[in-house]
Amino acid sequence: MNTDHLIAAIAADGAATPPSIARRIAAALGIGGLIALVLFAQGLGVRPDIAVALQTWRFVVKVAIVLTSFTAALWATAHLARPDADQRQALAVLSLPLLMLAVAIGGELALSPASTWSAWAIGSNSRVCLFYIGLMAVAPLAALLAALRAGAPRSPALAGAVAGLLAGSLAASLYAIHCTDDSPLFVALWYPPPILLATLAGAVAGYRLLRW
């Protein structure tokens, strides 16, 4: 079979397009997010004082940070699925939530007396935080990896890692509306470990599954 023959075979298969990669990612988030939501509803639930919490800067900033992380990771995941992706641009976008977190930490340190810092950071809920963010990230990550197999990433490991970050951010966003520890110090200490674990799992799985 020469190249002309191959072209004939490809043309016979036709180009009428399969679902775009963006749509596949959206579907994966829908399915994975639904499973995470069921886990959330079963095990956690929205904090009862949410109306009061919404009046406090710590809670609002916390939710803003996790949602920014989610949005940045979503954009980067869709971007990195393409072969012509600009990887540096994607990494720059991903630094946005870290920047917000740094500013929030600065605010906390400026506003609250040093004697309260360790209490803010340790919080009351850290073990639940570690466990549930990790647990709720599993299904979204699996669904995202399945969707990304239709992609053509320049770096399969990086694409998988960012999918893990997206799954972790989704889980963290849900967890944030349950948890009553709102200080940026708590967020900085306890949210990253499970999210980074999901990121690492995504990198390893991506390296194996997303080659094309």
């Binding site: 079979m1 020469n2 190249t3 002309d4 023959h5 191959l6 072209i7 004939a8 075979a9 490809i10 043309a11 016979a12 298969d13 036709g14 180009a15 009428a16 397009t17 399969p18 679902p19 775009s20 990669i21 596949r24 699925a81 393409r82 072969p83 012509d84 239709a150 992609g151 053509a152 320049r154 080659r211 094309w212």
Partner: protein, 184 residues
């Protein structure tokens, strides 16, 4: 170059809307450009020309199987060359050459025309096609070498046209995988 970009992007858009003729034209037009790129890329790594057609065929298969990653609002050529670069690197890696291909190396169109390809054609693809199962091979050969339509193949083999299309698509995916897992 801009003319070519507009022309190719137009063909690809038409192809995605279901115009198989436009798709075939596009594939035929990009093949010599991909051949020139592959030839240059392999030569730069002191690699003979015997793999050129492999890289071209792998790139065409990836163009096809990964076409959903092309965003219609983005230019077509950079997307295509990114795939070509990936497939060149894959090929070099499989052969254990040091694969370092700078983005700039392949971002521009080659100045010269494509090298002659006739004598390079399809040595490896012939081996790879033997890895397809019997029905897949029969269908691929019918539509490519014999030039039959999916409907004609369906009638001859007593299958539905849809089943022929599914088998053909699976065969193309199997071919891409065979390239990927091939040991030199």
């Amino acid at each position: 170059m801009t003319d070519r970009e507009t022309h190719w992007a137009g063909l690809m858009r038409a192809a995605i809307r279901g115009d198989d003729g436009a798709y075939r034209r596009l594939l035929k037009e990009v093949a010599p450009v991909l051949r020139a790129l592959a030839s240059r890329g392999l030569a730069r790594h002191n690699h003979g020309s015997e793999d050129v057609e492999d890289v071209v065929q792998e790139t065409l298969l990836a163009l096809h199987l990964k076409r959903s990653t092309w965003d219609e609002r983005q230019p077509f050529s950079p997307w295509l060359y990114a795939i070509a670069r990936n497939k060149l690197i894959d090929n070099l890696r499989r052969r254990g050459r040091q694969a370092h291909v700078a983005i700039d190396d392949i971002g521009e169109l080659p100045g010269g025309e494509a090298p002659p390809a006739a004598e390079l054609n399809g040595v490896d693809a012939a081996r790879l096609i033997s890895r397809l199962n019997g029905r897949q091979r029969e269908i691929v050969v019918a539509v490519s070498v014999e030039g039959e339509t999916a409907r004609q193949v369906a009638e001859r083999l007593g299958m539905t046209e849809g089943a022929v299309r599914v088998a053909l698509h699976r065969a193309l995916r199997a071919l891409a995988k065979a390239f990927r897992t091939e040991t030199p």
